[in-house]
């Protein structure tokens, strides 16, 4: 019985394994190989050397981290208290979650396109700001850092929020009641009981959000200055591949992107394991 079900499982897994090998591992390995060779096929580290010695390319790392890290921190940082507030539902919850999911569903391209008019110098946002006398002249939200950051944040915040909302509503409410019964106030209950339980969720939400923000591409092109201060690493990789047709250089940048990404994830998961030890107390309730 056991043996047969094991074989069956192996058979059922074949399509998925073939899929992951052919469409993910193989391309990734091919990219790694390409990044370590030159156009004539000889092995070399020159593609990496070129990236790290080209000041214009090297600074894309800082530019991208400079967008992705603050935006992700802010998005997750805002999502934690807001999802905590909504953990037992609030009036109009359906409508609120609907508005949150809209920018995620529509995607960066439409959001960035719309931001160009809405947040432009004559857009509604600036008209409101001028009418409320918050500034004497229109504030620039487009074609600069703010534009890219807002556009990435508009995608990232709902994503983190809905993810944490799903997570927090799964935490056993008895734990909170117990904490209150033992005399803890709201603040203590949040910091000492709920927050530690939320840490694994926060860590994953941060990682997935960071992945999205780190490969920011359409928003940087449409809302930033893609040839200068907002030339992000994904754009550099794209330009080497499809504008200069140097696939070896492009592959090296892809590998560097993946390495930075995995490094950040490793740091976050390290923080998580330091913060969170009691796996069993999340409890199924």
């Amino acid at each position: 019985m056991k043996g047969s079900s094991g074989n069956g499982a192996a058979l059922l897994l074949i399509p998925a394994i073939a899929f992951i090998v052919l469409l993910f591992l193989y391309p990734f390995g091919y990219g790694l190989f390409t990044s370590l060779t030159l156009a004539d096929g000889s092995f070399s580290l020159a593609n990496y050397g070129r990236f790290f010695s080209d000041a214009r390319d090297l600074r894309t790392i800082g530019v991208t981290l400079g967008i992705a890290l603050p935006v992700t921190l802010l998005a997750v940082g805002m999502a934690v208290p807001l999802s905590y507030h909504m953990r037992r539902g609030v009036p109009g919850e359906k409508l609120i979650t609907f508005f949150l999911i809209v920018p995620v569903t529509l995607g960066t391209v439409l959001v960035s396109e719309g931001m160009l008019s809405f947040m432009g110098p004559n857009g509604w946002l600036n008209q409101l700001i001028l009418a409320l006398r918050l500034a004497d002249k229109p504030i620039r939200f487009t074609h600069n850092y703010a534009g890219v950051a807002i556009s990435v944040g508009l995608q990232g915040f709902p994503y983190a929020f809905l993810m944490l909302l799903g997570y927090i509503s799964g935490i056993n409410p008895d734990l909170e009641k117990a904490s209150r019964m033992l005399g803890a106030n709201n603040w203590q209950t949040f910091w000492k009981v709920l927050f530690p339980l939320m840490v694994p969720g926060i860590a994953i939400a941060f990682c997935l959000n960071f992945v999205m923000a780190f490969s920011v591409f359409p928003s940087a092109v449409l809302l930033g200055q893609p040839s200068g201060p907002q030339r992000v690493i994904a754009l550099a990789a794209y330009q080497w591949a499809f504008e200069k047709f140097n696939f070896n250089a492009a592959a090296a940048i892809s590998m560097i992107m993946a390495a930075i990404e995995l490094l950040v994830i490793a740091i976050v998961l390290g923080w998580r394991s330091k913060m969170y030890k009691g796996a069993s107390i999340v409890g199924k309730g």
Partner: protein, 271 residues
Amino acid sequence: MRFRPRFGNALFMLAIAAFVFVVLGILLTVVLNSLSKGWYSGLLPKTLTTEWYKYASEDHDVPQLIGVTFVAAIADVLIGLLIAFPAAYALARSEFRGKSLLLSLFLLPMIVPPMAYGIPLAMLCYKLRLAGRIMGTIVVNLVPIVPFMILVLMPFIEQVGTNLESAAKMLGARRGTIFRRILIPLTTPGILTAGILSLVKSISMFELSYLVVGGRNQTIVVALFSDAYAAGARPPQAVDALAVVYFLIAMTCLLISLRFVSPTQMVFKLK
């Protein structure tokens, strides 16, 4: 003590209101701009026109764009289900050595930025002459879809008890029959959820499609990006007209999907 929750409530409502204002503002400006003429200042456009839609439809083969978008999205959902369902079943039902390793391997595409694996994948697509065809778009977008489907499907399969399956097996049903007559009907809600969520996601997938795009076989969101990128090549209102077409499609799919799923399911479910 009573003051604090009220204060929290006000802050919460303020944050949500600001967010809704921005989202609605963005969408309404796109719609109004696509219908306006000479709207450079003021709260509302002075003259309304539909000429930008005419312009956009002469500029692009819009039915073709919509067709490619849907063909690619539906193909991704169907192929994705064929790959993900058996895998999710095997992962949900059987214990074997290396299971958690395999699961993390399946989820790996979620934590690597799409551009990082997308560029080598696109290079392979060019080599295999898949780029520029619908097939290329379908293939690249499968990569994020399948892990997502496995994650969505697994809890649904875990919920279905093994009793019915064992009974059917005892009565001599073969594996294929069990799948067809018992498992698939019982997990229909899960299949529906995974399918609908992936369909909504596929329609708006941009980065990977953009890397293998070519000629007439582009999805509507890729065409929209290229138009917006080449600002100046056409009036911004015409770009917004195409944006509205895309917005209507994505919104319709979202509204239909929300009859079956809740917004929290649109993001990865955390366990």
